[in-house]
């Protein structure tokens, strides 16, 4: 009389094992899928690229020659060359304060905010060795998580400069 019961128990056990195995495989598949999505760091972004491009054309309060106030893009070059504005303030100082004010006003960040921070680097690229020298660096907030970035070269009279902006989430 015990034999059919035992057989049924074995079948149920087998069925449960198969369900558990399929569930484990499914969880592994999901794990791999999500880890691939979240492991990407510093993803290039069209949005950041358009932001960076627009920022370089913004006029600053620094006039180096005559009545013409320099754009951020021109200040990159003036800052690298060590020039000063007609007001006597160094181009690098105006560039640093204008960029910081602009980033803070247009890209708010905080620990509670979706955006945790940002970094900006202006670098001079050596024509011969391709070695880079940091001209200006601005970093604010926490930049350890997911990042979106954009970089652009700027060929000037004096040197090839490169600037890069990264948003951290």
């Amino acid at each position: 009389m015990m034999l059919p019961q035992k057989k049924a128990q074995e079948e149920i056990t087998g069925f449960v094992i198969i369900v558990v195995m399929i569930s484990v495989l499914f969880m592994v598949f999901l794990g791999i899928m999500f880890s691939q999505n979240f492991n990407k760091s510093a993803t290039p972004s069209k949005d950041v690229s358009s932001y960076l491009e627009a920022v370089t054309e913004v006029t600053t309060p620094c006039a180096v020659y005559g009545d013409e106030y320099a754009t951020i893009g021109k200040l990159f070059d003036y800052c690298y060359s060590g020039k000063s504005c007609l007001s006597g303030v160094s181009a690098c100082s105006v560039l640093n304060s204008t960029l910081l004010e602009m980033f803070n006003a247009t890209l708010p960040f905080s620990a509670a905010h979706e955006r945790k921070g940002f970094t900006f680097y202006l670098e001079a690229v050596s024509d011969s060795s391709q070695a880079t020298q940091v001209v200006l660096a601005i970093a604010k907030g926490n930049c350890t998580g997911f990042q979106v970035t954009a970089a652009s070269p700027l060929i000037t009279v004096t040197k090839t400069l490169s600037y890069k902006f990264t948003e951290c989430y």
């Binding site: 059919p4 949005d47 358009s50 491009e53 627009a54 913004v58």
Partner: protein, 183 residues
């Protein structure tokens, strides 16, 4: 003999019941899994459609700087990706004019379009001929208020106020909302 037949029949019925039960369980499992995958795939398709629509809006917003109606066209201070703020105001007024050929300039696809000045932070108000340039927003088209706008950052320029020879540019954002039913 009858007893033996009855026992065998009962055992067979039990096995059929067992098999039917197992089949029902498997069917339910397959249906649930199928339903889950269909939801994932259909959800992905909807996301793709939305992403493509957003991409189109962003691209169109970025391309607006090349339109003669928006572009900064001064030969003395060339800027390919700058937008002339005076032209934006002129176009806004033209779109509102019932008799203007610019009324349906962007076609039926574009249901919303606005240009915002971001930096230096302006007074938060809609731009009109009366308060320009001391304002922040140009609402060119507003046929749908529920649609999500996607955009691109631009430099918004005007001739400088002291000499008029150079350009004075601020940071702006052009945002467009496209009709989702159109391909």
């Amino acid at each position: 003999m009858r007893i033996l037949y009855a026992v065998r029949s009962s055992k067979g019925q039990l096995k059929i019941q067992e098999m039917a039960f197992a089949l029902i369980i498997v069917m339910i499992f397959v249906l649930l899994a199928g339903f889950f995958f269909l939801r994932v795939i259909l959800g992905g398709l909807q996301d793709d459609v939305n992403a493509q629509n957003d991409e189109r809006s962003m691209q169109m917003a970025a391309d607006l700087t090349y339109y003669p109606e928006f572009s900064w066209s001064s030969n003395r201070n060339r800027c390919e990706k700058c937008m002339d703020l005076d032209k934006v105001l002129a176009l806004k007024n033209a779109i509102k004019d019932v008799h203007s050929p610019y009324r349906d300039f962007f076609g039926k696809d574009v249901v919303a379009m606005r240009v915002d000045i971001l930096y230096p932070a302006p007074i938060q108000t809609e731009c009109t001929s009366d308060n320009y340039p001391h304002c922040s927003t140009f609402t060119l088209i507003n046929k749908s208020s529920s649609i999500t706008l996607q955009g691109s950052y631009v430099s918004l320029c005007r001739p400088d106020t002291t000499t008029g020879k150079f350009r004075d540019c601020v940071l702006g954002l052009v945002r467009i909302g496209l009709n989702k039913t159109t391909p």
